[in-house]
């Protein structure tokens, strides 16, 4: 089994997603079915091939260094559930 309880816990931690206990078994099953399908790629030998991260190469576009934005904080912060005095708020972080 590729993804066991320990892996699942680690993945949950890394992705900061709470996984309900009653979903764990079904989730593990689904993830392992998917990983089995994915494992097909390990049958191919292609060490010498260069990776492809962008389907269209040599198409880089840069931006001029210009400030051209009216920033409307009020309108941007309307989408947030918790702001005060222009700050976004989160539970206190103790460093």
């Amino acid at each position: 089994m590729t993804i066991n309880d320990k892996t699942l816990e680690n993945l949950s931690k890394l992705s900061k997603i709470k996984i309900d206990d009653n979903l764990k078994d079904k989730l593990k099953e689904d993830l392992n079915l998917t990983m089995n399908m994915i494992d097909e790629i390990n049958k191919i030998d292609c060490d010498q091939i260069e990776e492809l991260s962008h389907p269209i190469k040599d198409n880089f576009n840069l931006r001029e260094d210009k400030v051209s934005r009216d920033i409307n904080r009020e309108s941007l912060q309307k989408t947030s559930n918790k702001t005060e005095d222009g700050f976004y708020l989160v539970p206190k972080v103790i460093e």
Binding site: I56, D58, D65, V67
Partner: protein, 479 residues
């Protein structure tokens, strides 16, 4: 450091590049605006928004690379570094992993008057800055200000070539002078434009194997670099001497208490899951582009220093210290427009002028005494119209009273040099008469007492007597 240990240090310096707009958005970068007024939807990582790379940022990074004789990458690719923190809006930082824009290079630092050391630079890469978390503003909440999010950073990573805190400071100052000379950063450390992490480890002298290292975070001044590293070296030595092991961990430097404390150990460190940033296609840098930047490169501190040595016959020491701080060098050159004595100008700028800048915590460009006035003062000195002691007093006086002229200041303080032979003779006669014993001893061979007489004459004249004349006349009178 105790004799049987030696320390190995590497620095990671984050330099904020001084572009007008952010690295991936067209929001402004300027420092100090009200919270979240400089964070646009791209900086906030809002759904559907995309990063577009600022061309100036690429140019600035290449400038740095060329200045340290490093290889510039042909292909510049970005990567996502994944971790969660409230001041990192997208949940990943766009950084560089495999294709840093600047490859291996090096810089030279000078330690004593003669000693030169080369510090290797492993790489320098571009990335976006995060926002700020403010923990003490609200009682139960941490406040997030994302103005800084997306500010361009150049992270300069050194080889572990640095042996102690003194070298670390010299290296940091050198990098500071280079980025300022290149005008790619404002270099303002108090506003966080340059921040530094230090990797510190110690080993027994002569050991080949490196010790376990700790990473010190959050160092934002030259002074703190020295203190943090010294503290950490001491801590590590005392650990090892007690038979304890050094844990590989990140430690936070606490400048208030001058200590370092553990943040997290590497075992529980984040798994950053770097992968190529799909939203940004790798940029090709052409040799023409690099050549163009090379040609337009401003004079670098080392070049300036050599020029000062040859053009102005300054010592290595003076030339180096003047060129460390670009503003000081600028002030120096402006001063020379009105006074033809580089050595005198260098001495005064590095001495009393720097002292007064430090005293009032002002940078040379904001000096209350401008270069013209300063040159005027030095000319009085050069022409022996005032003494060195007097010049110091005048400098302080014109610093505090910006509307007063040099001549007025000298006059009002009554500090014109006394160069009248008769007046000086009178004073000398009085001093010799008042000290018959000393005269007797001098005449029987106690040459040292000549200085005593000079001192007394100067005291009697309230520091105004021309020392050269005093010497001459005194010699005649005493023999």
């Amino acid at each position: 450091m105790k004799n049987n240990w030696e320390s190995v240090i590497g620095l990671e310096i984050h330099v904020q590049l001084n572009s007008e707009s952010k690295i991936f958005s067209n929001a402004p970068t300027k420092f100090g605006s009200d919270q979240n007024l400089q964070a646009c939807e791209v900086d906030l990582g809002m759904p559907g928004t995309l990063p577009v790379l600022n061309e100036k940022v690429i140019e600035k990074a290449i400038k740095f690379g060329v200045a340290i004789n490093a290889e510039i990458a042909e292909k510049v690719g970005f990567a996502r570094k994944n971790y969660f923190y409230p001041d990192l809006p997208k949940g990943y930082q766009i950084s560089q992993l495999d294709d840093p824009i600047v490859g291996k290079g090096s810089i030279e630092i000078k330690l004593g008057d003669q000693e030169i050391k080369t510090i290797g630079i492993t790489r320098a890469h571009l990335e976006e800055d995060a926002g700020k978390s403010i923990h003490d503003l609200f009682e139960n909440e941490t406040a997030i200000d994302l103005n800084r999010a997306g500010t361009p950073l150049l992270e300069i990573v050194s080889e572990p070539d640095i042996s102690n805190s003194e070298e670390a400071v010299a290296y940091l100052k050198k990098i500071h002078s280079i980025v300022c000379a290149l005008e790619i950063s404002d270099g303002n450390m108090s506003q966080g434009s340059m921040r530094c992490d230090a990797n510190v480890s110690i080993k027994k002298k002569g050991d080949k194997k490196l010790g376990t290292r700790t990473e010190l975070k959050n160092i934002n001044s030259f002074k703190f670099v020295e203190k943090a590293i010294n503290f950490e070296i001491k801590r590590q030595i005392s650990c090892l001497e007690k038979g304890e092991e050094i844990i590989q961990e990140t430690r936070l430097y606490d400048s208030t208490n001058n200590t370092t404390r553990s943040m997290r150990s590497k075992e529980e460190a984040n798994d950053y899951r770097y992968f190529p940033e799909p939203d940004i296609i790798p940029i090709q840098i052409t040799s023409d582009q690099i050549l163009k930047i090379k040609k337009e490169l401003p004079e670098l501190p080392d070049e300036k220093k050599e020029r000062y040595k040859s053009e102005f016959s300054l010592s290595e020491y003076d030339a180096r210290n003047l060129t460390y701080d670009l503003e000081l060098a600028d002030f120096f050159e402006k001063t020379l427009v009105n006074i033809d004595d580089p050595k005198l100008a260098a001495n005064w700028i590095l001495g009393d002028f720097s002292a007064i800048l430090n005293k009032f915590d002002v940078e040379a460009k904001n000096s209350k005494v401008d270069a013209v006035k300063f040159a005027e003062l030095l000319n009085y000195l050069k022409e022996e119209k005032i003494s060195g002691q007097a010049a110091k007093k005048v400098l302080e006086n014109i610093w505090e009273n910006s509307d007063i002229s040099v001549s007025k200041s000298i006059e009002s303080l009554g500090l014109e040099q006394l160069s009248d032979d008769n007046e000086i003779e009178q004073i000398i006669d009085k001093v010799i008469n008042d000290n018959p014993n000393q005269k007797q001893q001098f005449l029987t061979g106690k040459d040292r007492l000549f200085g005593f007489f000079v001192g007394q004459v100067m005291k009697e004249s309230k520091g105004k007597a021309n020392p050269k004349l005093v010497n001459e006349i005194l010699k005649k009178k005493l023999v």
